[in-house]
Symmetry: none
Subunit: 237 residues, 4 copies
DNA sequence: AATGAATGAGGCTTCATTCAT
DNA sequence: AATGAATGAAGCCTCATTCAT
């Protein structure tokens, strides 16, 4: 079974009408469902208005509960933002892990991480935009993701594939390139190849020869094959 | 006269007590002086509190005028932000132009632009932080600066120094790397070599051979030489 | 049996962990026990936060039941306050009655009532503080206690011991002196002799000669003697 | 000229329609007038609802300004309460001082202070009720008044007129008697002789012989003579 | 030009109370 | 009997904006 089918089964690339959190909480208690509704609403409002401009009232309204209900579930705006950030970080990390479980080569891993991250976050438009509008409050998201990234970069360094020093500065630079590409993608300033484009640039920056960089960054990801294929569907479920 | 001396005479690297805008407006009418005071105050407040959290009252208080006076000069917070952004963009552009007036080589120009920009914005800590805290409202700042950048990148492409396609996506990526380095610098996460470090990475990304990239990015900038000596003026370039 | 042993057996001077009301309701139905738990909690919260600042939610939390349960037992905060006040008034009256059953002399009765009241309410710190923090809502408490007081004062008047007119104004004044002493005691502004001190002042005010007033107010109360001795039991009644 | 005529001329016993603070601020700036209006309104609301139940919104409404205006003049409810308490304390102290300037005998001073205080506070019904409903927040009021009281009591002790020890406990008891009488007066439970009645009781308590106590407490205060007489006006000064 | 008092909308938060389970 | 989620009114406070002086 291919990578994307995993994603698919997890419901992540499914329809978003009811909100990702809410649909996961469908079978939980009432409180959990309301909490999830609020979190979905918060993501939406953060995405639309940005974190600062978002108001608790607005989040509650978007979640279709009265404002008082909000405080039954969260202490304040920071609280729900932290909850959302944590959930997104967890989800992203889990998905990337799954998507890259069987890739050993550092060059492949590095470019795949960038491409999958952008793919994933643009599929969940609200998440991506919320990230975009509230970067500073989604700081936590960085932790895990960055740790994985660092590991891959260091592996590449040891394998001799990358010729730059791996430190926080490099990682920040690398990450900001990915973010910039994601934002361009979300804003419609670039097509579906945003991931490949930026991945290629990143590899070049790291010291990968141009040719190899292009090959790795544009290599078809198993995903696509599975997405269209027939036997995939069988395998799908 | 050398590059830095231009910067110096412009008062930019001097002390900031009275605020950059106010000191420039010293000889203008009272209205212009108040307007400048407000703009300086706004930069400071944006830098300290971020754009969203900044309040008109706070800006007025920081400018030492009553709140009502604000509205004599600006329509609202967005208005003053735009004015500030425009002035900063103009200043930055002018300074970079001056600093790079006599550099012909695209590789040199590109890396110098990045390094000077970071140098300049970290010297004017408030400007940098305001940019940092209010990126979205300083969007306009991009316009001019980006145009110059595009010109240099295309020149490099034509000269055969750069081997990537120059389009908006590349420019965004390039700019986000510079920004990321500036922010790291302002936050104290990296030393004074932030400019060189990121410039080297940018050149590698653009296709400049590692050795050449390192040489260009870390080359001593004429600045210092020019600042002290007389013959430096000759040596300047 | 002596006076204090009555107090002791009633559990009043014992430890307060479970709350006075709750421990009395130990053998009643579940509803009664919950009601008692709520009343104990209410006293505690009134004592800590004052009546106005106390919230139904807080009382319920302190009683370890959910907020909805409160309304099964009381209409609102006033309702539970009234219930608490009634119970406290009843208890106090009962205890004072018991403690003074065998005292005939009006001077003795008057000073003993004041001293016992202060002793009793400072032993039950929560009750005293609740009284202190919610005087206006414990108005009802006055009724019974005041009636007894009036009887003693009038008796003293008839016996010729007191030389002032006994009316509501005098009783209010007398009561406010006792209260003031209790509050000073609860606040730690005066020691265990608060009762004797104020009783002496009250007797002087009523017209009792200074010497006699001092003697009556500072006379050792039977309590202690009775509490330990055996013959005390005889003396008891 | 007699004491009361001073009070009268000061406008204090005059009509209260516009509020004591506001009428004093009539000739000050707009801000001061609004501030005074708010303080008058606050006294009224405290008197009606008590301090805890009073809301900033309600005070603003009573002062006929919008709620936002409140915060232009006071930080919060505590702030205005402190301002009001300070003003009342100052006024009361000043009036009592004036009313007792020429009394030397401690017995006279003590009973006059009590009687004047009650007279003064019941004339300013709102002040008295506010004191009544918000004792804890008018703590500051005690400071000055109590210091004067202490001085008079100690003077009496030294003169041999009082035979009790003068300490905080006694002063608290004494003050609570005065308060109790004031409250009875405000509630209509006692007539205009409340001051004399309680003053007599206080003197007895302090050790003044019954006869002397009665004489001092019920002695006509110059006020009354002046209020009615003609020659008083001459004598006034 | 500037002042600064006033406005009123809107955000945050708590809490008494109800109601379906 | 008890639960606990939800409600919505009401209180607190800030702030952009206006306006008379």
């Amino acid at each position: 079974m291919g990578v994307l089918s995993i994603l698919r089964e997890s419901g992540i690339f499914g329809c978003m009408e009811t909100g990702s959190f809410a649909s996961e909480a469908r079978h939980l208690g009432k409180a959990a469902r309301t909490r999830a509704k609020l979190m979905d609403a918060a993501v939406g409002v953060f995405a639309r208005d940005g974190f600062e401009a978002a108001s608790v009232n607005e989040i509650a309204r978007a979640a279709d509960v009265v404002n008082g209900t909000f405080y039954l579930h969260f202490k304040d705006k920071d609280d729900i933002a932290a909850a959302v950030a944590y959930r997104i970080a967890t989800d992203v990390t889990r998905q990337l892990d799954a998507a890259m479980a069987d890739i050993g080569d550092a060059i492949e891993r590095t470019s795949t991480a960038t491409r999958r991250f952008i793919e994933f976050m643009s599929a969940r438009r609200d998440w991506g935009l919320a990230l975009f509008r509230a970067v500073w409050f989604f700081r936590d998201l960085r932790g895990d993701v960055v740790n994985h990234l660092r590991a891959d970069l260091e592996r590449g360094r040891k394998q001799g594939a990358f010729t730059v020093e791996i430190d926080n500065f490099l990682i920040d630079t690398f990450a900001s390139m990915t973010m910039s590409a994601l934002f361009a993608r979300l804003n419609g300033n670039v097509g579906a190849d945003a991931g490949s484009r930026v991945a290629e640039l990143q590899l070049r920056m790291l010291g990968v020869p141009a040719k190899r960089a292009k090959a790795a960054a544009w290599k078809k990801l198993p995903v696509l094959e599975i997405a269209v294929g027939n036997e995939a569907k069988k395998a799908g479920r």
